[in-house]
């Protein structure tokens, strides 16, 4: 049926952004997710200068201050943590690390996994085999062990945490890319390019990679959520980010001991993690629908012909 429509509508580009916006408006959940993520990005970028050193300033006399109290400054509205630091300030500053780590890790794993996948998929040489075995090894290599090894040998730092997270997520991209390449390389336009004399490098870079990218980006959105959660699990086991640096995950992990009597310490960071990952999941689910020509109409305002 859609084949029919696509043949009929040879529409010029009527503002791609506009189409996206129109489709977004139709899915209220996805719209809410986008708004939340935008606010988050703004807060992450603009917040820290406003907050200054409030996030690290001790207030030992207001330890575990309960939330929703109007007697203190607004910054204490969500309460204070175990060292009396305002949770709002910690959330905003922690967002930088949390999102930064997740972004860097996802980017690194996507790039390395993608490149290795392109090689493993397109080449039939011996190193293709090596890459695949490597992916197997990485897949079954416990991320916790890796975290510990890196923590020990390279020392605790955000960069090293990114390495750990990127490394463990890498095989997903590698395998997906390889599978896509195996399919794409049989496509006619690749044959066409070969017949024109294009080099393997050109084919991979110009013809195959741009088509793999959308798939990888969809995975990346989901992975972003996974990485945030994985990072918090590492913190729970004491293998994640180390003080004085902190992330939302570390905040949840550190506050877990207080769940019974000062729930807010781990509740608020847990909530923002939940909302962030939820937003990303909703958005990527929306994007899948949007990208699928068979399903995209679900996101469009369908105006019927009046009868």
């Amino acid at each position: 049926m859609t084949a029919l429509i696509s043949d009929i509508t040879v529409s010029p580009r009527t503002g791609k952004l506009r189409t996206i916006w129109n489709c977004l408006k139709r899915d209220k959940l996805a719209l809410a997710a986008v708004i939340f993520l935008l606010l988050l990005v703004i807060a992450t970028l603009a917040g820290p200068p406003l907050i200054g050193d409030l996030a690290t300033k001790l207030g030992l006399r207001q330890r575990n201050l309960a939330p929703f109290s109007f007697q203190h400054d607004w910054i204490y509205f969500l309460g204070a943590d175990t060292l009396g630091r305002p949770i709002i300030a910690r959330l905003v500053v922690g967002a930088q690390n949390t999102l930064g780590i997740a972004f860097a890790a996802v980017l690194c794993s996507m790039l390395t996994g993608g490149i290795l996948g392109l090689i493993a998929g397109y080449s039939e040489r011996w190193y293709s085999q090596i890459i695949q075995r490597l992916a197997d090894v990485v897949m079954s290599f416990p991320s916790l062990l890796l975290a510990l090894i890196v923590l020990y040998t390279l020392g605790p730092s955000i960069t090293n945490l990114v390495i750990v997270l990127a490394f463990t997520r890498m095989p997903i991209y590698l395998r997906t890319t390889r599978a896509e390449v195996l399919e794409l390389r049989e496509r006619m336009f690749v044959s066409a390019a070969i017949s024109m004399g294009a080099s393997p490098l050109r084919i991979v870079v110009r013809h195959i990679a741009p088509l793999v990218l959308p798939t990888l980006l969809t995975i990346a959105a989901l992975d972003f959520a996974t990485v945030i959660l994985a990072e918090s699990s590492l913190s729970f086991l004491g293998l994640g980010i180390q003080p004085p640096d902190f992330t939302w995950g570390a905040m949840v992990a550190n506050g877990r001991g207080y769940l019974a009597n000062a729930w807010w310490i781990s509740f608020w960071p847990g909530l923002v993690i939940l909302l962030t990952t939820l937003s990303l999941n909703l958005l990527s689910s929306w994007a899948r629908t949007f990208a699928d020509p068979q399903q995209r109409w679900r996101l469009q305002s369908l105006r019927k012909t009046p009868r």
Partner: protein
């Protein structure tokens, strides 16, 4: 088919051996275990004696050769901390994790298939929205957080379930639930997505033209065809679960291999680390081969 399994198995063996070698060398980069096994105030001589006793004083390549030699005779080494064969310890813990992972995955897959299929029949409908939101919310919260809150609510406040441990059926409920939450959330999305595309596949049109009942179309034709991607994702998640039950095992005091591994890692009980990785990696490779075979069962077009 047989040759395919053989090829896969040989690939897996290569990978496992590579993994073991990698783990062997990398773990030994993480410091001398003797200071961890002995009390903090023990003397340097005592620590050297300990290292000598367990061969940690030898050059690392010698240690590795010894390890390989022992491996050939199926000796996986002794746990320095537990005074027992490391493999024995790993094999004792593994079934506990396997049971838990199996039940959690079975539950997650079954529920996801039901919920995802129903959601896909009315996309954008009320049920679809609720299922998406609930499943994704469950998959979006840190698991240890859910586990601890669960204990505080269901075990302490309401006194409905035991806090932790093993034993009765009731002990299973919370660990299984927590472990199943994330796979369920992700699988619902996968099932829903593949069902949606399966429902717009040409053969569904044929089925409708044949006058099949709606139920037969959805569960007989569409679902069967959307199982393949679901299996792929479920397989990956299961592999992750075998490795990643650490949190649940730690919180609920479940004596599984995840907890064993993390303890061994933190305390540098190298033989146990090696054995647990050997066991879990083998399990993952067997799982992958099983999944490939399952593909062939589910899709007659796939032949190896």
């Amino acid at each position: 088919m047989l040759s395919y399994i053989g090829r896969r198995a040989s690939h897996s063996i290569i990978s496992v051996l590579g993994l073991l070698a990698l783990v062997f060398f990398l773990t030994r980069l993480t410091g001398d275990p003797s200071s961890l096994f002995l009390p903090l105030d023990s003397t340097l001589e005592a620590r050297q004696a300990f290292a000598r006793l367990h061969g940690f004083d030898q050059p690392i390549h010698w240690q590795f050769l010894n390890y390989l030699r022992d491996l050939v005779s199926l000796d996986f080494g002794q746990s320095v901390r537990q005074n027992r064969s490391a493999m024995e310890i790993a094999l004792e813990a593994f079934p506990q994790t396997l049971k838990l992972a199996f039940v959690a995955m079975a539950l997650a897959i079954a529920l996801a298939i039901v919920a995802g299929s129903i959601a896909a029949t009315r996309p954008g409908g009320f049920f679809d929205r609720i299922v998406s939101l609930v499943s994704l919310t469950g998959a979006s919260a840190p698991d240890f957080w859910i586990a601890i809150v669960g204990i505080l609510v269901f075990a302490v406040s309401f006194d409905l379930l035991p806090t932790s441990g093993t034993g009765s059926l009731a002990h299973w409920i919370m660990p299984v639930f927590v472990l199943a939450l994330r796979p369920f959330g992700l699988l619902v999305q996968v099932v829903r997505g593949t069902m949606l595309s399966a429902l717009s596949a040409p053969y569904i049109k044929t089925a409708r033209a044949k006058g099949l009942r709606r139920k037969e179309i959805i569960f007989g034709h569409a679902l069967r065809n959307s199982l393949l991607p679901v299996i792929t994702v479920a397989g990956d998640l299961t592999a992750g679960l075998v490795n990643g039950a650490v949190i649940v095992e730690t919180v609920f005091g479940w004596p599984g291999i995840g907890k064993l591994m993390i303890d061994a890692i933190i305390l540098r009980d190298f033989a146990v680390v090696q054995s647990t990785i050997l066991v879990t990696a083998t399990a993952i490779f067997v799982l992958n081969i099983c999944i490939d075979l399952l593909y062939a069962v589910l899709d007659p077009r796939i032949r190896y």
